[in-house]
Amino acid sequence: MSTLKAATAGSAVAGVHHARVNVRYMRQRLAFAATALSVGLTLGSFFVIVVFMASKGLPVISWEFLTEMPRMGMTAGGIFPAILGTFYLVLGAIAFALPLGVLSAIYLAEYAKQGMLVRIIRVGVNSLAGVPSVVFGLFGLSVFVKFMGFGVSILSGALTLGILILPTIIRASEEALLAVPYSFREASLALGATKWQTVKRVVLPAAVPGILTGCILGIGRAAGETAPILFTAATFYTMHLPSSIFDEVLALPYHIYALMTEGTMIDKQMPIAYGTALVLLFLVLSMNLAAVVIRMNYARKKQW
């Protein structure tokens, strides 16, 4: 009798327990669905933006669109000067930031002893990375355009963008250098090489893929930034291609902005803006994709 009672009581407890477990798993299923939904929305917003730009931009893009000058007050013709302008700006920014960034990274990764000095430099790099892009524009305007007298020009814009991407390049290069195993350095030093010879001929070549990744990310960033070139390099109406580094230029990101906010014939400017946005998006995303692919390949092939 008592055993029966105990058994029924036990099964009742088990039933309640079962229900509670079910509730807990229901809750889990709901929560997992919610997190999956947030991933879906995140990835979805990426695909929506890309597909939207592609569907609106592709019909506009033709060989003429990419290689011709704009005509009729920016309401017809191509965007060649903007492509060229962005190319010059990015080239200048990389030429400025890559050597400076890699040398800084070599110091931080190979030479610096942990201490106050290095901490200050690191805080500096991090803080510079966090400065809003429009503040770089103010700096470029005040220093390069006005104080140094470069005017609104490719040179001013490239230098401003160069400072902007410097932290990106330093971080990527430092990470790449630190990933080279210590035994590489020991082997070189044991052969009688000096520290600099070791860095130059052993560590640096081994770190090239990582540095390249940083460089490519820097290119993508510099090509897409608008605010820093707003007052330092970019112009909307120009009828000729730049002839020197002291000329102002059209640039892809600024061109999109100007087409959408300036001028009066928005119906005719809108398609050009779509085409320009697609070109810029393609350029920047292929850079980022290249960086991702290089990193993956590098991680897989690495022998150490």
Partner: protein
């Protein structure tokens, strides 16, 4: 034949003896600093070694000076902002500038009150964070804890690509897609509102929130989870009551960096948020942020005018706000790393 052989044998022996005898003391002194007396005769090797060491010192100093350029640029930015911005702050006073309710830079007499712009920035950022934080943390939890290896390797590069989309493209997308939607849904005269700006900005700051909180959640040691499972917790109970709380300061860092990115963002809000410098009261009205004001008005402000200096003064406010958030994030990251390192 035998003589020749002897001569041949004597020579290396002699050299060897010379090396041992001549360099014995050097060997010790060298051992302390560097192992490269290398080949060559003793005196030549010594000078060459010295010159190489001097060369290395020079390179060290050169590299240090290169590494310092970042500091130089940062200090340069601060100096430029102060030099160009302080005149107007001295003229108007700091409190009237920050707390002034009217921004009419081109009126006669002009009025430079930055409060509508500061509140505009905070308002749009608040809206963006309300949308981006739950989504971002949810996505981070899924990516780090729930998704399989292969799904994770699909998600992460796409999040990186999302971060790579230029802000002007987001702005364009906001103008062309989000703004008409907002206008139609809420039946407004214009779709360029704080809400439109907040939504667009939220998409933009999502990658920052996702990737940094994902790193933080992944860094939680497995032993935490195992202990929770051993107590009979379900996977979700483990995630929500053990893993996420343990990663909270890392997630907090992600939120702060997302805020910092949203406050500093220029092109998106310039194109999408409607640009009217009034103190925001709802999300369905146009607002103007600090960044948009600088970008929109710098072209018209005559160099050296009060307006020009006032825009740099806004730059000071903007710089300080993002700096505070970044330093806070830096501090939290370091503390988080220390704590996770001890486990």
């Amino acid at each position: 034949m035998a003589g020749q052989e002897q001569e041949g044998a004597a020579c290396p022996a002699c050299c060897f003896g010379g090396v041992i005898g001549g360099r014995g003391k050097d060997m010790f002194s060298i051992k302390v600093s560097s192992p490269f007396p290398a080949r060559g005769t003793a005196p030549g090797g010594r000078t060459r070694w010295v010159s190489r060491q001097v060369g290395d010192r020079v390179i060290h100093v050169l590299l240090l000076s290169f590494a310092f350029t970042c500091i130089v640029f940062l200090v340069g930015i601060v100096i430029v902002l102060l030099m160009e911005g302080l005149p107007v702050l001295q003229k108007l006073g700091i409190a009237p500038f920050i707390l002034g309710r009217d921004w009419y830079p081109t009126y006669e007499p002009p009025s430079f009150g930055a409060l509508p712009l500061v509140l505009g920035s905070l308002w749009v950022t608040l809206g963006a964070i309300i949308v981006a934080v739950p989504l971002g943390i949810g996505a981070a939890i899924y990516t780090s804890q729930i998704a399989g290896e292969r799904t994770r390797e699909m998600i992460k590069p796409i999040v990186e690509l999302l971060a790579g989309i230029p802000s002007v493209v987001y702005g364009f997308f906001g103008m062309a897609v989000v703004s008409p939607l907002v206008q139609r849904i809420f039946d407004l005269p214009t779709g360029l509102t704080a809400l439109t700006g907040a939504i667009t900005l939220a998409i933009m700051s999502l990658p920052t929130v996702v990737s940094i909180s994902e790193d933080a959640i992944t860094a939680v040691p497995n032993s935490y989870k195992e202990a929770s499972y051993a107590l009979g917790a379900t996977k979700w109970e483990t995630i929500s009551r053990v893993v996420v709380p343990a990663a909270s300061s890392g997630i907090f860092t992600a939120v702060i960096l997302g805020i910092s990115r949203a406050i500093g963002e220029t092109m998106t809000v310039l194109m999408v948020a409607g640009n009217s410098a009034i103190i925001p009261r709802s999300f369905l009205q146009p607002v103007r942020t600090m960044t948009a004001t600088i970008a929109a008005e710098m072209g018209e402000a005559p160099v050296g005018s009060d307006h020009y200096h006032a825009l740099f003064a806004i730059g000071i406010l903007l710089f300080l706000m993002t700096l505070i958030f970044n330093i806070l994030a830096d501090f939290l990251t370091r503390r988080y790393k220390e704590r996770m390192g001890k486990v």
